[in-house]
């Protein structure tokens, strides 16, 4: 017993808080852990596996066993409802709730940490997708990029001018990100938002006009010459090389915010622009519209910091969570690691304006603010797998896909089918 007790309380009566982080931005996160440690507690970093699924599994196993040494955890926003519903997260209350979720937090990011009218996590950084493209390719196609563009326009412009369209369509989470954004862009939802929090009793609404519009976009790209060779197994990394290819006119690509720093670091190197002038050819606009005239709903990602409900040091852990998600911490993450802030004030800071073009910062913050979340359900991981199983392969997607996936998803939620 004495050994165990010594383990938990640390040396000299100082508490140790374990912070389970995902591998993104480790250097800065280690620094934040040090900076946010006080005379009362030390924050110790524990590394989670690289894949989001494995991260979730490992944390969930600990929390299901009421692990008291899981104090802080970095969570992908889609897993927050699941963890909150299982009461594995200690909600922020009073002053602290106001601090982690004030008016400064962008709407899209703020939505991800609310569950059952409580603030169950603190947004640390926010991710979103925009449409990255070669300005020369858009010019060649005569596409006016100052106005919102649609998927249809982008696919035709690329296909007719020797370019391609990069997306994420392998059988994994980011494919659901794409499908969800397409459906929301057409004014629909995978699950009815007013019933989604009811878990198994949520109403499945993917079999709708919006679902069919989304399927039509995927079908159009699958059949277009603009589809990339590895379309059916594409991920965030595979389409990066098609932007500045040795031959061809480049691509339009929907991808996360890391793309800018990625190409900036590749100037003059393989896979990147030849020189600074080539880098200037990289353009960015808001996520394409599914239906002309209807505002797009850019995907939202990022990381929220949760406090383990069984932690022995709840007060310390909550204070630490506030510290590692404050404006200063978010500035460091953005400038050093390219992980974009969830607070508007950080986008407006001088440090960020030096690191990114002003119009790109505006586009990022706008996209996070107006983006669309994936279904906020305690059963999200099942919902995601069910969608993947009926929408993959993208080459087989057609007008019947929404109906098929709706039937399967309903059966899964009711426990009437195996996943």
């Amino acid at each position: 017993m004495s050994v165990l007790a010594a383990c938990g309380s640390g040396s000299g009566g100082k508490a140790t808080l374990n912070w389970y982080i995902n591998p993104d931005g480790q250097v800065t996160l280690n620094k934040l852990a040090k900076d946010c440690s006080t005379s009362k507690y030390d924050i110790k970093i524990q590394l989670l596996p690289a894949s989001a699924t494995d991260q979730r599994t490992q944390l969930a196993r600990r929390l299901a066993a009421k692990d008291s040494s899981t104090d802080l955890m970095s969570l992908d926003p889609v897993f927050v409802p699941e963890f909150a519903n299982a009461e594995w997260l200690a909600p922020f209350e009073g002053d602290q709730a106001d601090k982690v979720l004030d008016d400064d937090v962008l709407k899209g990011a703020a939505e991800t940490v609310k569950w059952d009218d409580k603030v169950v996590a603190a947004p640390q950084w926010a991710n979103t997708q925009v449409l990255w493209y070669r300005r020369s390719l858009a010019d060649k196609a005569g596409l006016d990029m100052t106005k919102p563009v649609t998927w249809d326009q982008v696919i035709k412009a690329a296909g007719d001018n020797g370019g391609t369209v990069g997306v994420q369509a392998n059988k994994y989470e980011a494919y659901v990100v794409w499908i969800n954004a397409l459906i929301q862009g057409a004014g629909g939802n995978i699950l009815d938002p007013s019933t989604v929090e009811k878990g198994r009793d949520a109403k499945v609404t993917i079999d709708s006009k919006a679902g069919k519009d989304a399927a039509a976009v995927i079908r159009e790209l699958a059949k277009s010459p603009a589809a990339q060779p590895d379309f059916t197994t594409s991920n965030e990394g595979t389409s990066l090389g098609q932007m500045f290819p040795a031959k061809g006119s480049g691509e339009f690509m929907t991808n996360w915010t890391f793309v800018y720093k990625n190409y900036e670091g590749l100037i003059g190197k393989p896979g990147g622009p030849a020189d600074k002038k080539g880098f200037k050819d990289l353009g960015w606009v808001r996520y394409p519209q599914t239906v002309a005239g209807e505002e797009s709903k850019p995907p939202i990602g990022g990381i929220d910091i949760g406090v383990g409900a069984y932690s022995k040091h709840l007060d310390y852990a909550k204070a630490a969570a506030v510290c590692v998600t404050n404006a200063d911490a978010q500035t460091q993450l953005a400038v050093n690691e390219g992980l974009m802030p969830s607070r508007q004030s950080v986008y407006d800071s001088q440090a960020l304006k030096k690191a990114y073009p002003a119009d790109l910062l505006t586009l990022f913050s706008q996209s996070v603010d107006q983006g669309g979340p994936r279904p906020k359900s305690a059963f999200y991981s099942q919902i995601s797998s069910a969608i993947q199983s009926r929408w993959h392969s993208p080459t087989a997607v057609g007008p019947g896909t929404p109906k098929k996936s709706a039937d399967f998803l309903s059966a899964i939620l009711k426990g009437k089918a195996l996943l």
Binding site: E82, K171, F379, S381, G415, K416, L418
Partner: protein, 312 residues
Amino acid sequence: MSTTYIQNAAPEQSPAVDSDRSRAENSLARKLVAPALVLMLLVTAFPMLRALYLSMFDYSLTAPDDKEFVGFQNYVTALTDWLFWRDTFTTVFIMIVTVAFELVIGFAFAMVMHKVIFARGVIRTSILIPYGVITVVSGFAWQFAFSYQNGFVNSWLPFIDTDFNWFAERNSSLIAIMASEIWKTTPFMSLLLLAGLAQVSNDMLEAARVDGATWWQRLYKVILPNMRAAIMVAVLFRALDAYRIFDNIFVMTAGANKTESISFLTYRQVIEQFQLGIGSALSVLLFLSVLVIAFLIVKLFKVDLADARQEN
């Protein structure tokens, strides 16, 4: 050394007289066995009963408040789902193919280990090395071997393209998985068969040779029949093991391209999706199918298990 075939014809002894002494001995025996029995019940019966209990519920670890009694609904769901049957078929296929290969190769190895005169220790040890390798390690090793980027299999097989991706579709993935499984567990099979070989009396083999039996005749008429019990134990153990195949699939394909086994399906329901209800139902079904397979094999070989232990 007597063989299992020369059974004693001695008449069954009449049941022992219930003397005070034997009664006391029996009672002592019961007391001595009791603690072990209780412990066994605790560690095996409790989880089994708990799985049986949980399988009657719609129970997700992430929505503990929604736990609901559903009777046999989980079993109906599993048994009426094509996914369950597809995975069962995959598992049975893997089991039959791997056990068949292991039996043949394992028997050859057993013969070598049995007959070898020189460097006996070295040869026996080297045959057994794969069995000492952890399955996960073996899975990774074979995954690298079959990888088209840095593996050697493609360059060794003349009829295979050098950039053929073994893990891109079902059949080739299954071949890779089964190769790893066979490589890893054949030594176990040969070890069990070696024990059987050692039981075959040399006198009988010599008698057969004197009678002019060829090598094949000696194998089919003398060695194999006398080894039946050992073969049955080897097949039974390996078949039950193979039916629960998990590690190689987890490492090599993670169940992609329809290479999922029943164990893997169960794992995904319980560990990945935290669906304790349906997961427990699948575990119970897995347990039942293992019983069925054991029963079928025992019936098929018509061998009394006690024979293998030479209790008769």
